[in-house]
């Protein structure tokens, strides 16, 4: 292969190191105004009056808009449309948008929004997720505050537990995790004289944004063009919520017929934007003395916040991954996404699985200890392999590199069952997996488009519907296009993602861009290659149909000709070298009553090992090194794969040890800034050893699978297991703070 598999430097890297202004807040338009959002100060209440008049009279204010001004439907469409764009009669969380203020300057708009007078009758909110479920009096959603209940039923857990030699039962809790992308949310709407709107901003999902804007404005999809700006980190935090900002600028831009920009400040962003769902997990796991996992029972509850947004699909992923990557014949999972009077939670790298895998992997180590087996040996007796069935009954055909991942971690680290025994040093493993793509939970969206043009000079321009959010998609897709067409990598460029270039291609989530856009792009490139190959065969008088194009040169037997000469010949004959590609994901299925089906098209696999040192006096956990192996099918660009591993591992370390966003009893987030919500800094970084396993996925481009979310997912349990190995403290509630370790050590 030519450029696929090579460590080429990131296509857009040069623009990021020179300070080129490509992010939303860097853009200016003639006559541009600035928006700010008026938000609810209470977690639950009835709106009596929104005083817009006193604001509009102020100097520099251009308009104030409430739900009454919405020309279309007052809803942010996602899975179910229960979330209003602007609150009408009631408010359901602190920070819920009530009105949009537009002014000449950002300063004036923000000041007006903060001092807006709202008359709201306060009601008692429900804050805790377990209290909210089936709450007798307070009903935020339906009669039971349950957005979604899911099940997986397999075998007969009751009799299986009776036959188990060892049973472990525990409850676990995990808190919010804030995305903490360094670029706050930002969006601009630009109206055009033909009545159309252009939206530019930070986002993962331009087609979600378009749907939201057409819903609230009533404009047809053809009149709303959404273009992604350079996006400064996302991690799921720019999946659904940019739709809110887009509506907050689209409405005033239409009314005032002027460009309107909106930038959240950090605290506003942390208070009002989505987060990882806080979770409560009860696990009961049983094994027989031969070290076989015989039965698992899981009750999983996630805190969806005040509106359903993505909670149902987050729950789907968590449910499908709920016992970890093991064979188990008897499984009983009940999972719930519940409503509380807090900010709606949504997508965050791992999407409902990091919480439940923390519990599942903590269970595995406890079972192993009780069986007298080391954690690697116990896992090896139960790991999923090709030919096995997952808990949803999906038979794994190929590309199952879990055992290889674990073997590689053990080999590279030199770990042995009696490796450590230095004072207060411990090792902890996790083995996990990730269903690639949207799976059965989002299969109606599992399609993507691509458009490719080979220009007369041989340079290549492509468009896709998925977005670059720092993960390296532009580079990976450019490598795929270069490989397919046989041109040098440098000849290939990507247009900024734009809803007017390709049909709705679904969201940039679920680690799906490499496989989905990669396959659509391949489809388009192959169509163009057929024309080029035919032309080349004619020029080189090749009857054997063995045209090879590599790095800009076309070969047929002993003859060769520059690629551009063939393109020139196509141009002279007026042949079109432009094509559209399309890809539909292979089928998936899920039976809601039994939880059985082919939940995902394929899985990525991972093994992690954390080495920690615990200070027994203070309870502080120091992570010394993390080995993290991932089966990615094929690493299109190993350097970018390592970048995903290193970045995900450190986010996982934050989730494990320090990131602790919390509410007070009124529902207010108490730490909405970087000085109180602590994420890992350069000094918190342990040595990270990224390891790549390649078990090709036959339906992926060049065998590649998506895996970008996976590096975060197994870190918290690996660290929790290492802390136990070091000092015998089993922490079941994240994050593993010094206080919790200290208390656990005092107890034992």
């Amino acid at each position: 292969m030519g450029v696929v598999g090579k460590r080429v430097a990131r296509s857009e890297g040069i623009h990021r190191v020179t300070g080129t202004g490509l992010f939303a807040d860097d853009l200016k338009y003639h006559g541009m105004l600035h928006a700010a959002v008026v938000r609810s100060p209470v977690a639950r209440g009835i709106i009596r009056k929104i005083d817009t008049e006193s604001i509009s009279r102020r100097t520099g204010i251009n308009g104030v808009y409430t739900f009454k001004d919405i020309p279309g439907r007052n809803a942010i469409p996602i899975v179910i449309d229960d979330q209003p764009f602007l609150a009408e009669k009631s408010v359901n969380y602190i920070g819920e948008p009530v009105a949009v203020v537009v002014a000449d300057s950002r300063r004036v708009a923000r000041a007006a929004a903060q001092t807006a007078e709202l008359s709201i009758k306060k009601l008692t909110p429900v804050i805790d997720l377990l209290e909210a479920r089936n709450h007798p009096d307070i009903h935020i959603f339906g009669n039971d505050n349950i957005y979604k209940h899911m099940k997986v039923k397999r075998g007969d857990t009751e009799s299986a537990f009776k036959a188990c030699n060892v049973i472990i039962e525990n409850e676990y809790r995990t808190p919010y995790q804030e995305h903490a992308y360094i670029e706050p949310q930002a969006m601009i709407a630009i109206p055009f004289p033909d009545g159309s709107l252009e939206i530019r901003g930070a986002m993962q999902c331009p087609f979600y944004v378009r749907k939201a804007v057409t819903t609230i404005t009533g404009l047809p999809e053809s009149k709303v063009r959404v273009i992604q700006c350079a996006t400064g980190g996302a991690f799921g935090g720019k999946e659904d919520v940019p739709s809110l900002l887009a509506c907050q600028v689209a409405l005033p831009a239409l009314k005032l017929q002027k460009p309107v920009k909106l930038l959240y400040d950090r605290t506003e962003d942390m208070i009002s934007m989505s987060k990882r769902h806080p979770a409560w997990i009860r696990c009961k796991s049983g094994a027989s003395k031969d070290g076989v996992l015989r039965a698992a029972e899981v009750e999983y509850v996630i805190d969806g916040g005040a509106y359903a947004t993505l909670s149902a699909v987050v729950l789907f992923r968590g449910t499908a991954h709920s016992i970890g990557p093991y064979r188990c014949e008897n499984v009983d999972v009940d999972s719930y996404a519940v409503a509380t009077n807090k900010v709606p939670c949504g997508a965050f790298r791992g999407f409902g699985s990091p919480q439940v895998l923390f519990a599942a992997e903590s269970q595995m180590d406890q079972l192993a200890a009780r069986l007298g087996l080391d954690p690697v040996e116990f896992r090896k007796r139960n790991l999923l392999r090709a030919g096995d069935e997952t808990i949803t009954g999906q038979k794994l055909k190929s590309s199952v590199g879990l055992q290889q991942s674990l073997d590689k971690v053990v080999r590279v680290s030199g770990w042995t069952p009696d490796a450590n025994k230095n004072e207060n040093i411990g090792f902890g493993f996790s083995t996990i997996y990730y269903g690639v793509g949207l799976g059965a939970g989002g299969k109606h969206l599992a399609r993507t488009g691509a458009r490719v043009i080979v220009h007369e000079d041989g340079s290549v321009l492509f468009s896709v519907g998925t977005t670059e959010i720092g993960q390296g998609m532009i580079t990976v897709l450019s490598q795929i296009a270069a490989e397919e067409l046989g041109v040098p990598f440098e000849w290939v460029s990507m247009m900024p993602t734009d809803t007017s270039r390709v049909p709705d291609s679904g969201p940039t989530v679920a680690s799906r861009s490499t496989t989905m856009s990669g396959n659509a792009l391949k489809d388009a490139c192959i169509k163009i290659r057929n024309i080029i190959d035919e032309e080349a065969a004619e020029i080189l008088d090749d009857q054997n149909e063995n045209i090879i194009i590599d790095n800009g040169t076309v070969y047929a037997g002993n003859n060769e000709i520059p690629f551009v000469k063939v393109i020139e010949s196509c141009t002279a004959k007026r042949k079109s070298l432009s094509a559209e590609g399309w890809h539909i994901a292979p089928p998936t299925s899920f039976d809601n009553d039994t939880g059985q089906g082919d939940a995902y098209v394929t899985y990525a696999w991972s093994a992690n090992l954390a080495k920690v040192k615990v200070d027994k006096l203070t309870g502080e956990v120091m992570v010394l090194r993390i080995w993290s192996a991932h089966d990615v099918g094929k690493a299109i660009n190993p350097s970018l794969v390592e970048g995903q591993i290193e970045g995900g591992v450190l986010q996982g370390l934050g989730f494990a040890l320090m990131e602790d966003m919390a509410n007070d009893p009124t529902g207010a987030i108490i730490n909405p800034e970087f000085s109180t919500y602590i994420i890992p800094t350069a000094e918190d970084q342990p040595a990270i050893v990224p390891l790549i396993i390649e078990e090709p996925y036959p339906d992926g481009p060049f065998g590649a699978k998506g895996f970008g979310e996976q590096p975060l997912m197994g870190i918290a349990p690996a660290i929790a297991n290492a802390v136990f190995d070091a000092v015998g403290a089993r922490i079941k509630q994240l994050p593993i703070t010094p206080e919790k370790v200290w208390r656990a050590l005092r107890k034992s």
């Binding site: 020179t18 300070g19 807040d25 670029e183 720092g470 970087f674 994420i679």
Partner: protein
């Protein structure tokens, strides 16, 4: 916004050029750079000096431009990310960041690059621990910092080689 509306005259050096401009007393340096000079490579991530995205060099020292008033730069020299490259091309730290995979989303990159430049000016061959300490005020949420450290080490090699040639 805190601060007076009083207009004052600022004379300072910005990316090698002499600047002579009026400014309101309460204007923040980050706003002066982004809004009035269109130097949008300086990013604002928090407005409170917590994330380091707005880092610029003030007389060679990395500072958060969101915590500085424009009036505080009188008589001093500011370098932003736009002023780092010269006619010969990119600064070695920019080159190293671009080539070693130290950039993911790139929003924190200008600040991290400027903090790294200040470090290397001070200590041409920093240890890993010294790099970690010097960059601990610049948050990056994408990379896990590993490739950023590698970039600084690679730039260190490039610059020490280059200065040896000059000797």
């Amino acid at each position: 916004m805190a601060g007076s509306k009083e207009i004052m005259r600022l004379k300072f050096k910005l990316n090698g050029q002499d600047i002579n401009i009026d400014a309101a007393g309460g204007e923040r340096l980050v706003d002066l750079l982004r809004e009035r000079f269109d130097l949008v490579g300086t990013k604002e991530g928090c407005g409170k000096g917590e994330c380091g995205a707005c880092t610029v060099l003030l007389d060679g020292e990395p500072i958060c431009s969101c915590l500085m008033l424009s009036s505080q730069v009188i008589g001093r020299e500011i370098i932003t990310i736009e002023g780092l490259a010269d006619k010969k091309g990119l600064h070695p730290v920019q080159k190293a960041f671009s080539e070693t995979g130290a950039v993911q989303c790139g929003f924190c990159s200008p600040g991290l690059i400027l903090s790294s430049v200040a470090l290397l000016n001070d200590k041409p061959k920093p240890s890993r621990e010294e790099i970690k300490k010097a960059l601990s005020g610049n948050l990056c949420r994408c990379t896990g910092y590993e490739k950023i450290f590698e970039a600084v080490e690679s730039a260190s090699k490039m610059t020490t080689k280059r200065s040896r040639k000059h000797d």
